[in-house]
């Protein structure tokens, strides 16, 4: 227990006094964690954008004037029964007219021509959202079946089909691409941090030799370096979080107006996970690189 306390104390002293090695490791580790965290945020942002795009896609089935509300509800039930549809919204003729008037409020020409018709020309319809963008074509196929031909006047989807297909491809592409970039940049950042720690320990090789010669056990020598590595990891995590919040404060508004993605609230929502991720990366990196680097000097 005394030894453990002494190792902790000695590691804390190294962290505070060994300013050049602590400083170098801290800077590189913070950059590495910043890269990893930025990529975590980028992944969150890409998921958000893809969801936004998917939200924008829907299918509308317009019913004949002759179709009764009861028949429309039956179709709705059958659609929900498919298991592919996330939500179905019923819009009656009256509601469709109200929305039309609302949308063209102030556009006298459009409203005057609507009045000139003398009756409500709009059709009752169902707006559908699929669970998965890939499901749209099968939903549309279902609505095109013979049994619905007397009820359904039109299915508004064909025009958007290429968009949906491309979107599906882009969604996949973005997610695979982002993942590849995350892995590649994280590996680079981790390797740079790892080598910096190795170099700082190389700078301490005389110190390690002295410790060996006065009879320190391997753990008594290794321990303070590990403690220093852990403290650097913790300090780097805090610094990175501070940087991220600072940055979101400065560029958050522009980013939100440009993409709709609210980086500050994303950070706040994922603060715990992000901090844990940073701590795990920082401490893990500190311990692993110190252990590997120091092993070489502890052989005899």
């Amino acid at each position: 227990m005394t030894s453990f306390k002494r190792i902790l104390k000695s590691g804390a002293e190294k962290f505070l006094r060994d300013r050049s090695s602590t400083g170098a490791a801290l800077v590189v580790m913070t950059i590495a964690l910043f890269v990893v965290s930025s990529l975590f945020i980028l992944q969150g942002m890409s998921t958000f954008l893809v969801e936004e795009l998917e939200e924008g896609v829907d299918v509308s089935a317009y019913f004949q004037d002759s179709a009764t509300e009861e028949e429309i509800f039956q179709v709705r039930e059958q659609l929900l029964g498919l298991g592919k549809v996330a939500e179905v919204e019923y819009v009656s003729k009256e509601e469709a007219l109200r929305r039309f008037r609302e949308a063209y409020e102030g556009n006298e020409a459009v409203l005057a021509s609507l009045d000139a018709i003398g009756r409500n020309p709009l059709l009752a319809h169902l707006n559908l959202k699929a669970r998965d963008p890939r499901e749209y074509s099968s939903v549309v196929e279902f609505l095109g079946e013979e049994k619905f031909s007397s009820l359904i006047a039109d299915v508004d989807f064909h025009d958007r089909e290429p968009v949906i297909e491309r979107l599906t491809l882009i969604t996949k592409g973005i997610q695979t691409g982002v993942l590849a970039v995350i892995v590649a940049l994280s590996v680079v950042a981790v390797l740079v941090a790892f080598n910096t720690i190795r170099l700082t320990i190389y700078g301490s090789k005389d110190e390690i030799e002295i410790m060996r010669l006065v009879g320190a056990s391997s753990w008594f020598i290794r321990g303070p370096f590990l403690v220093q590595g852990v403290l650097v990891g913790m300090a780097a995590s805090l610094l990175t979080l501070a940087f991220l919040f600072g940055l979101s404060f400065f560029i958050g508004d522009q980013l939100r107006s440009f993409t709709g993605f609210d980086v500050s609230s994303f950070l706040a929502r994922h603060l715990f996970v992000l901090f844990l991720l940073q701590l795990a990366c920082g401490i893990g990196l500190g311990i692993l690189s110190s252990t590997i680097a120091i092993r070489k000097y502890l052989r005899t």
């Binding site: 030894s3 002293e13 110190e207 030799e209 002295i210 010669l213 006065v214 009879g215 320190a216 005899t300």
Partner: protein
Amino acid sequence: MISWRNVTKIYSDTSVALRDVSFDVAKGEFVSVVGKSGAGKTTLLKLLLAEERPTRGEVVFEELVVHTLRPSHLPQLRRSIGVIFQDYKLLNSKTAHENVAYVMEVMGFPEETIARDVAEVLGIVGLTERATHYPMQLSGGEQQRVAIARALIHRPSVIVADEPTGNLDPYHTRDIMRLLLRINELGTTVILATHNKEIVNRLGRRVITLSEGQLVRDEKEGKFIVL
């Protein structure tokens, strides 16, 4: 107490550090090992500390054959020997007090004992006032006295000094030698490797002379003889 038995150390075909060297050092002796640079003095000491392995022969310390010890037992061996180097080898990120205390911390002594003994030993080497200074803030002589305090602190049975005065002026040299003699008078065995003729001749103690890796002279009250 310590024996070098037919020790040969060959680094490479062109570099033979020791050739069939044998001698014993008894408890409480003060032995000077002399010879030119490259005569094998430092290798002799490194073999005792298990920093190097002999190519042939063995070094025995208190009935243990040093190079057969497992790595996990080496710290124990090194704690029984106090070492003083020409370049002091102090930990630069620790103060004089902490450098001396480090050896006791390694050995698991309680804090109160460490505080008491370190203060006492720093007093013996005349560094009470400089206890909180870092090595960089001390003169060469002061750094060497810290190194001696560190070698002494845990009362090892033997102190090995490799050219301890090599970087010091005559005034500090006399100072350090006086300290080593005092340590020896208190019962600690001292092995001094040096090429300083004056200090060896003044000591009037046992002298082992090495030349090109061979033991060429071993005298009870020897002199430094230039070969």
